[in-house]
């Protein structure tokens, strides 16, 4: 399996570069290109990512691989009180490894060199633990960003993943405002929206996404969505059997007011600790009611206008 994946990588790398679409010349051609439709690709089996935080080691290989493959600029160095120096998902960081420090009470002050006793240090009882979680776009089945997009720039692909078509985006900000997970972000460089595209170009070449490829522990797993869900459920059961009673899946099943996600997580603690809402809400659930309230309010006001004119105009 591993060798066949490697040979596919080499095979694709040896292919001559594909020719891009012809650049439009003139204003009319540019406008026409904006309305052009390619052929709808044939639907493929739905794929996704299963991120098992219980075996994430916080190495950030996924972040680096994502930046390298997608040619994303590096973040300016920013030191926080944590090993997390990415901060949040952004237009230039489509992967974000979160570091949660779970160390209970503050640690007592330790002697520093030259008084440090390494033997004593090694013999100390292990207190607390780290939680790592590699976050990215959830590729929601009913994605608010997709529903919010007025230009069709945000689409579901033939793999049931969600991508932004950067050449169509106007930078209106509707998707940024709609995403409840803080995934989509507007770039200060080009004004357009950007987010993880689950390496759409690699998927089309039958390769797995760069993050999954780079993950050294198998914490980020790529595959057919149903297989991943079955694997995830089995993993939760195994963790429960080993005493991790709080282990749970997030996004593998439909929430009360939100669809299931095609990038889902196995968490060891409450979702909020990892920056995920326990019960996300899709704002589109309110659309019909908000439209109705608006229309009724407006028509009522116009009826008052008509009534006043009718009564007083004689």
């Amino acid at each position: 399996m591993a060798s066949s994946a490697r040979s596919r990588e080499l095979e694709v790398a040896a292919l001559p570069p594909a020719e891009g679409p012809e650049r439009p010349r003139g204003l009319l051609a540019l406008v026409r290109q904006g309305f052009a439709r390619g052929e709808r690709p044939e639907m493929r089996p739905a794929v996704g990512l299963f991120t098992d935080v219980s075996i994430c080691i916080g190495c950030k290989a996924c972040e680096v691989a994502c930046k390298e493959w997608n040619l994303l600029p590096s973040n300016p160095p920013e030191w926080r009180e944590s090993y997390d120096n990415t901060g949040s998902l952004s237009a230039t960081s489509w992967r974000h490894v979160k570091f949660v420090e779970d160390f209970g009470a503050p640690l007592p002050p330790r002697p520093v060199l030259p008084d440090m006793d390494l033997t004593a240090l090694l013999a100390e009882a292990k207190e607390g633990k780290w939680h790592f979680m590699s976050d990215s776009c959830k590729h929601c089945v009913e994605a608010p960003c997709n529903l919010a997009c007025p230009t069709g720039a945000m689409i579901h692909t033939e793999y049931s993943t969600v991508i932004v078509q950067p050449d169509v985006c106007t930078g209106c900000g509707a998707c940024t405002s709609a995403c409840p997970f803080g995934v989509v972000a507007q770039s200060p460089h080009d004004g357009h929206a950007h987010k993880c595209v689950l390496c759409y170009d690699r998927l089309r070449d039958d390769l797995q996404p760069a993050c999954a490829k780079a993950c050294p522990t198998g914490s980020i797993r790529f595959g057919a969505i149903e297989e991943l869900r079955a694997e995830a459920r089995a993993r939760v059961e195994a963790l429960h059997a080993r005493g991790f009673g709080k282990a749970r899946l997030w996004g593998a099943e439909r929430f009360a007011a939100y669809s299931e996600a095609h990038a889902f997580y196995l968490l060891l603690e409450e979702p909020e600790m990892y920056g995920l809402p326990s019960n996300p809400v899709n704002p589109w659930g309110h659309l019909a009611g908000d439209y109705a309230r608006g229309a009724i309010g407006l028509i009522l006001a116009l009826a008052l206008v008509a009534g006043a004119v009718w009564s007083f105009a004689g």
């Binding site: 949660v100 930078g171 209106c172 309110h286 659309l287 116009l302 008052l304």
Partner: protein, 284 residues
């Protein structure tokens, strides 16, 4: 660097939620104001004309061009507020009525398209370059613009409320509040125009402001009560302070305060308006 371990566990609880909306600053506020003002002027003038053509015919000559110009300026503001304004035409690639922004772009564009000739006629008639009575084609186009104005008004509130932004996401009455405010704004903006021009519609416009103000107060109260009921989690400091101040008022007392304000304010405004109307009639 060792783990600082000051709080346990130190997670991402504060980061749960959406990125802040890029719609910030004065432009969105100006956009809502101009949008409501322009469409409100058109709606009040046109509905008034449909019910009482004799009284409102004169007002159309100013109302339609004013509405057209104000909505055009608003569209330019929206264009300027885009991340990449050179791609505005991409908004017409798809029509998604389930997407408030798409509904807004299409309905506003269709509305402006239909209102172009009525506005042109109004401007020419005001300058004395066209006959005072609107031609049949102009009236037909204005009638076409009327149903287009309704989604053009309603979408604006939904653009803000159908998001994951704290506060807005819980504001279920935003569309209704913007809609009623648009009509109220339209009526109050037409009032000085009608009064200055000596149109016979002035008195009617004065009289409709009181019930509109009451309706607006009721919707604003519903908006606030709904927000108070839903708000609570992970709000920014300013919103928490506002929530605390509002928590001093329970829903019944809040409603009572709005009712008392309306009861005091509306008769005061109304009696003043009637006084001015009587004075104007005496002058006539």
């Amino acid at each position: 660097m060792s783990p600082s371990a000051t709080d346990a566990p130190r997670g991402y609880q504060e980061q749960v939620g959406a990125h802040p909306s890029p719609w910030e600053g004065i432009v969105p506020a100006l956009d809502v104001f101009l949008h409501d003002l322009g469409l409100g002027i058109f709606l009040v003038a046109t509905v008034g004309w449909l019910v009482s053509p004799a009284r409102f015919a004169g007002l159309l000559r100013i109302g339609w061009p004013a509405a057209f110009l104000i909505v055009c300026v608003d569209m330019l503001l929206l264009l300027w507020d885009l991340g990449d304004w050179t791609r505005f035409f991409h908004m017409f690639r798809v029509f998604k009525p389930g997407t408030p922004m798409s509904l807004g772009v299409w309905s506003l564009s269709a509305f402006l398209g239909a209102l172009t000739f009525p506005a042109l006629w109004g401007a020419l008639a005001t300058l004395g370059l066209a006959r005072a009575g609107a031609p049949l084609a102009v009236r037909a186009l204005a009638l076409l613009a009327l149903p287009l104005a309704i989604p053009a008004v309603v979408y604006k509130g939904a653009v803000f409320s159908i998001t994951s932004q704290p506060g807005w996401r819980d504001a279920r009455w935003t569309s209704a509040a913007f809609g009623v405010s648009a009509v109220l704004l339209g009526a109050t903006a037409l009032l000085p125009i009608a009064a200055a021009s000596g149109f016979t519609s002035t008195g009617v416009l004065w009289r409709m402001t009181a019930p509109l103000l009451l309706l607006d107060s009721a919707v604003q109260a519903a908006w606030e009560v709904e927000l108070r009921r839903r708000r609570g989690r992970a709000l920014p400091l300013v919103a928490r302070v506002a929530a605390f101040l509002l928590s001093l008022l329970s829903p019944p007392t809040l409603l009572a305060a709005v009712a008392v304000a309306a009861l005091v304010h509306v008769p005061a405004v109304y009696s003043r308006l009637l006084f001015f109307e009587r004075q104007r009639r005496r002058q006539d």
